[in-house]
C-alpha cells in the first residue's frame, strides 16, 4: 500500500514550518497537528514513549504496512496531553536513515568486514573469556546509556555484576544526571523527584536554574507558558549564565557568573532566615542540619578519590555559616545584584506563592553538582515548599530512561537494582533474585565513567562493550580517551544503529534495533515507567541490545540466568526486575498494566500511582500520624546542608581568557546521530557554531558566520561564529552545542568532575579565541 505522495509532502511542509516556529517562538505548541492526516485512513496508531528526551512524552506511532510513517502526541498521556516538540514529531524518520547499520562487522587487518551475527557474537564471548583469563574479571567492562531500555540495563547488570562478578558497569547517565542522584541521596536518602509534572499547573512561580527549557524540555516549557496564560499571576524567572530562548520568554532573566549559583542559593537562604520567612513548623519537624568536607578537589588526576564526612550542626551554626552570603557580598562574587537576590528570595519566601525550581544539565554538569542540588533543596526545605502540589524542586533528565534504566535498575558501578554493592543485604537480595552465589557480587565499586575510560587508556581495562551511546563524541578531554580506545590490545565492541565516531574505534560493531523496532520500557523524569511494543521490524540482522547481551551471556555459560524465549523475554525480565522494588516505597506496575497504559508512576501501591512522595496524604509509604515523612533517611528527616561557594576547576586567566560553555539545541538530540539523519531537523540546524557576545566579536574583528578557533590546554576546534543568534553569552564566555561530530568540542573540554557524584562539568573551562 502506497501512501499518497502529496499527503507526505504536505506533512513535510507543515513539519518544517513547525520546526521553524519551535526555534523562533519558545515553547510554542501545535496540539491540533496530526502528521499524515491526509492519509490517516491507511495508518494504524500504537502508543510509545518518545525516543528522545527524558520528558517522556507519550506518542502515537502511525504504521503503514511494516513501516512507521507518522507520529502524533498521545492525548491519553498526562505528560504531554497530545503535544510534541519538533524532535518527537519527526522521530520515526530516525529509523530510516540511508546508512543504517544492518549487518555485524568485525575488524580484520584494520578493515571492517561484514559477518553473520552469530560469528560476531561468538567472537565477543571468546574475547571476553580470553581477556578475563589473562587480565582478571575487572579488565572487562560494559558502558551503556540512559537510552538503554530497562531490560537492556537489567540484563547488563545481571551479566556483569551477578554472573561475571565485576562492577565494571557504567552508563552515560553518569555524564548527565549523577549529581542529581547524589543530591537526592545526600538531602533525602532516596533517589528521584518527590513531585510530578502536574506541579506545573499548581505553581505560581517557576525558577529555572541554568536550564534552557524552551529548547531542552519544550513540551514542559509549553505547559508552563500555558499555565501563565491561563492563570495570569504566574512568574517565570530564568536564572542562567547566558541569554537564551528561555530568557526571552521569562518574566525576568537574571545572569550569574559560572559556578556562583552556589553563592546565590546560600544568599537566598540567608534572606529567607533574615526576613523570618522560614516555615518553622516544617523545619523543626522534618529537617536536620549538616555540613561536609570543603575544598574537595576536582578529580582531574587518575585514581582521584573522595569520601565526604558529614557532621551534624545546629540551626545557629548554619545561620553563622550563611553570614558569609549576604546579598551584598554575593553580588560581588556572582554579578547578580543584591536587589535581584532579594527578589528571588522574596518569591521563595512568600507563603502565598507555590514555587517550582527546575534544573537539568546546568546544575548537574557542575564540579560542585551535588552541593548545588543540596542548596536548592535547602531553599524549599526552609520554606516548607516541597512535596505538595505546586511546591516542587524538580530535577529534569536529558535521556528517555536515565531514571528508568540507570537510576532505578542501578547500572552504575556502585549500584544494584535495589541498593548498592557495598551493602550486604542488597547483595544478598540480588544474588537470590539472580540465582547466583552471593560471593559473585563484588562489594567494591570499580570505576565511574571518567575513571573507566582512564582505566581503558592505562590498560587496566582491555575489553569494553559500548551500547546505545557515543562516548567518542561525549567524553570530556576526548583526545585522551579516543587515543586510549585505539591502543593495541584494547578490544571495543559497539552496538549502535548508525556509524558514529564511536563505531569508528570499534573492533566489532553489532547492528541494533532502534526504539519501536523492539519491545521495551523507559522511565522518565517524573517516576513514570512507559512500555512500548515492537511496532515495526528492524532492518537486516538488527537485534535488540537486550537480546545481544543474552546471546553473549549464554555463550559464556550463563544459560540458567538467561533462560527466556525470544517471544517472552521482555515480560519475564520485567517481572523478575520488579521483585527488587517490592515495597510501598518503590512498587512498580505489572507488565500487563504497563502494556495497557500510557505510562504508570511509581510507587504504584494498591492500584494507585503516587504523585507526591513523602507527603502522607499522597504517599502510602509514609508513617501514619505525620504530615510528611522523608523516609529515605532513618529518622524521617530531610537534610539541610551548609555547602560553601567554591570556584570551577579551571577559570579564565590571561592566556585562556574565555569561559567555554557547551550544551544543546532544540532540533538535535544528544550527539545528533539520529536527528542529523532526519532531513527537516538537519536542514533546520545543519552544523554547530560558537556563540560569541557581540562586543567580544567586535574586539576580535569577527562577524557572523566567520570562522573562529577555540583553543584550550587540551585541544582546539574551528567553527563559525554566531553573533546575536538564538543564544547570547555574556562578555567573556562562548557557547558551543555538542551535537555535531564534525566539530568535536569535547576535544577542548576538561575532564574535571564533582568529587561526590563523579559527573564531569561540561559548562566551565578556559579557552582562548583566534580569528581564522
Amino acid at each position: 500500500m502506497k501512501l499518497n505522495r502529496r499527503a507526505f509532502i504536505k506533512s513535510a511542509a507543515a513539519g518544517s514550518a513547525i520546526v521553524a516556529a519551535g526555534s523562533i517562538f519558545p515553547g510554542i505548541s501545535f496540539a491540533g497537528w496530526q502528521q499524515q492526516e491526509g492519509a490517516s485512513g491507511q495508518i494504524s496508531w500504537q502508543k510509545a514513549p518518545c525516543r528522545f528526551c527524558g520528558t517522556g512524552c507519550g506518542v502515537l506511532v502511525g504504521v503503514s504496512g511494516d513501516r512507521a510513517v507518522a507520529v502524533k502526541g498521545d492525548p491519553n498521556c498526562s505528560v504531554n496531553k497530545g503535544l510534541c516538540c519538533v524532535k518527537g514529531f519527526h522521530s520515526v524518520q530516525a529509523l530510516y536513515g540511508k546508512d543504517r547499520i544492518k549487518k555485524a562487522q568485525v575488524r580484520r587487518n584494520g578493515k571492517m568486514v561484514e559477518v553473520p551475527m552469530t560469528e560476531a557474537l561468538d567472537l565477543i564471548a571468546a574475547k571476553m573469556k580470553e581477556t578475563i583469563e589473562k587480565h582478571g574479571k575487572d579488565s572487562v567492562a560494559m558502558y551503556g546509556s540512559g537510552q538503554w531500555t530497562i531490560p537492556d540495563g537489567y540484563v547488563a547488570s545481571k551479566l556483569f555484576k551477578g554472573c561475571i562478578g565485576t562492577n565494571n558497569v557504567e552508563a552515560n547517565a553518569r555524564l548527565c544526571m549523577a549529581s542529581a542522584v547524589t543530591g537526592f541521596m545526600t538531602s533525602f536518602g532516596i533517589d528521584e523527584p518527590m513531585g510530578c509534572y502536574e506541579d506545573i499547573e499548581h505553581a505560581d512561580v517557576f525558577v529555572t536554574w541554568g536550564n534552557n527549557m524552551a529548547e531542552m524540555h519544550p513540551v514542559l516549557f509549553s505547559r508552563m507558558l500555558a499555565s501563565r496564560k491561563r492563570k495570569k499571576n504566574v512568574t517565570i524567572i530564568d536564572f542562567a549564565t547566558r541569554t537564551t530562548r528561555s530568557s526571552q520568554a521569562a518574566d525576568k532573566s537574571i545572569l550569574f557568573k559560572p559556578s556562583t549559583d552556589l553563592a546565590v542559593a546560600n544568599a537566598i537562604c540567608y534572606e529567607i532566615i533574615r526576613n523570618d520567612w522560614v516555615n518553622w513548623d516544617f523545619v523543626k519537624k522534618h529537617t536536620t542540619f549538616h555540613k561536609g568536607k570543603t575544598n574537595i578537589g576536582y578529580g582531574t588526576e587518575d585514581h582521584f578519590s573522595f569520601t565526604d564526612v558529614p557532621e551534624d550542626i545546629s540551626f545557629e551554626q548554619y545561620k553563622t555559616f550563611l553570614a558569609d552570603y549576604t546579598p551584598e557580598k554575593v553580588e560581588k562574587i556572582s554579578g547578580v545584584s543584591a536587589k535581584d537576590i532579594k527578589y528571588m528570595a522574596s518569591l521563595y519566601g512568600d507563603p502565598t506563592k507555590k514555587v517550582m525550581s527546575f534544573w537539568c544539565m546546568g546544575m548537574n554538569q557542575h564540579v560542585r553538582g551535588t552541593w548545588i542540588q543540596n542548596l536548592v533543596y535547602n531553599i524549599h526545605l526552609l520554606t516548607g515548599k516541597i512535596s505538595t502540589p505546586g511546591n516542587s524542586p524538580f530535577s529534569l533528565t536529558g535521556q528517555p530512561s536515565a531514571c528508568g534504566t540507570v537510576r532505578e535498575v542501578g547500572t552504575l558501578t556502585h549500584a544494584l537494582p535495589h541498593g548498592v554493592v557495598m551493602n550486604e543485604h542488597d547483595r544478598e537480595m540480588a544474588a537470590k533474585i539472580w540465582d547466583v552465589p552471593v560471593t559473585n557480587i563484588d562489594p567494591k565499586p570499580t570505576y565511574h565513567t571518567v575513571e573507566m575510560f582512564r582505566a581503558l587508556d592505562r590498560g587496566d581495562i582491555r575489553f569494553m562493550w559500548i551500547q546505545v551511546t557515543n562516548p567518542m563524541v561525549t567524553m570530556p578531554n576526548l583526545n585522551r580517551y579516543r587515543n586510549g580506545a585505539l591502543k593495541d590490545d584494547r578490544f571495543i565492541v559497539v552496538s549502535d544503529v548508525y556509524p558514529t565516531p564511536t563505531t569508528a574505534v570499534a573492533d566489532v560493531i553489532l547492528p541494533a534495533t532502534l526504539w519501536v523496532e523492539q519491545e521495551g520500557m523507559f522511565g522518565n523524569s517524573e517516576r513514570r515507567t512507559q512500555h512500548f511494543d515492537r511496532i515495526v521490524p528492524g532492518p537486516g540482522d538488527t537485534m535488540s541490545d537486550t537480546w545481544q547481551i543474552i546471546e553473549v551471556a549464554r555463550r559464556l555459560g550463563f544459560q540458567k540466568q538467561f533462560p527466556w524465549g525470544e517471544d517472552e523475554y521482555i515480560g519475564k525480565i520485567w517481572e523478575e526486575y520488579r521483585r527488587f522494588h517490592d515495597s510501598p516505597k518503590h512498587n512498580m506496575a505489572s507488565y500487563e498494566m504497563l502494556k495497557e497504559r500510557s505510562g504508570v508512576q511509581w510507587p504504584f501501591v494498591n492500584g494507585k500511582e503516587t504523585r507526591w512522595r513523602f507527603n502522607t496524604k499522597h504517599d502510602p509509604a509514609c508513617k501514619p500520624g505525620t504530615d510528611f515523612d522523608f523516609y529515605g533517611k532513618k529518622d524521617g528527616k530531610a537534610w539541610i546542608w551548609a555547602r560553601p561557594y567554591e570556584p570551577a576547576a579551571e577559570s579564565p586567566d590571561q592566556e585562556y581568557n574565555f569561559w567555554l560553555n557547551t550544551g544543546r539545541v532544540i532540533e538535535h538530540w544528544h550527539t545528533g546521530s539520529m536527528t542529523r539523519r532526519i532531513p527537516v531537523l538537519h536542514n533546520a540546524m545543519p552544523e554547530s557554531y560558537v556563540e560569541i557576545n557581540p562586543e567580544d566579536a567586535a574586539d576580535l574583528g569577527v562577524v557572523n558566520g566567520e570562522k573562529v578557533k577555540i583553543i584550550s590546554r587540551r585541544g582546539s576546534v574551528t567553527m563559525k561564529a554566531s553573533i546575536n543568534g538564538r543564544g547570547v553569552p555574556p562578555r567573556g564566555m562562548v557557547f558551543v552545542p555538542f551535537f555535531d561530530e564534525s566539530y568535536l568540542i569535547n576535544e577542548v573540554t576538561l575532564d574535571a568532575f564533582c568529587p561526590i557524584s563523579k559527573q564531569p562539568d561540561y559548562k566551565k573551562c578556559a579557552v582562548r579565541l583566534e580569528k581564522v
Binding site: R5, R6, I9, K10, A12, A13, A14, S16, A17, I18, V19, A20, A21, I24, F25, G27, I28, S29, F30, A31, G32, W33, S222, L225, A226, K229
Partner: protein
C-alpha cells in the same frame, strides 16, 4: 503544482479573524498554534496561475501582519 508552507502572524488581536480568513481561502490548510499567536499555513495549488492569485490575496489580507515561507516544493514530476 507547488506545495509551500509558511509561518503567519496576525495583526494584534486578529488571530481568530486570520484563522477564519485563511480557512476560507481555496488551496489553504492551517495549523494554528494553541498557545501563541502564530499560524502554520500549508498551500497546495494546482498551477502557477492559481499560485500567483493566492499569493496576491495573502499579501492583501487585512488580518495578516507578516508571512514567512518555511518550505517550498514543486510537485511537478
Amino acid at each position: 503544482m507547488p506545495i509551500l508552507s509558511f509561518l503567519v502572524l496576525p495583526q494584534a488581536g486578529a488571530m481568530e479573524q486570520l484563522c477564519a480568513d485563511l480557512s476560507a481561502m481555496e488551496h489553504c490548510e492551517i495549523i494554528p498554534s494553541d498557545n501563541q499567536e502564530v499560524v502554520v499555513l500549508v498551500t497546495d495549488t494546482p498551477d502557477e496561475e492559481a499560485e500567483n492569485k493566492l499569493q496576491e490575496m495573502l499579501k492583501n489580507l487585512p488580518s495578516l501582519q507578516s508571512i514567512s515561507m518555511t518550505f517550498g516544493h514543486n510537485a511537478e514530476q
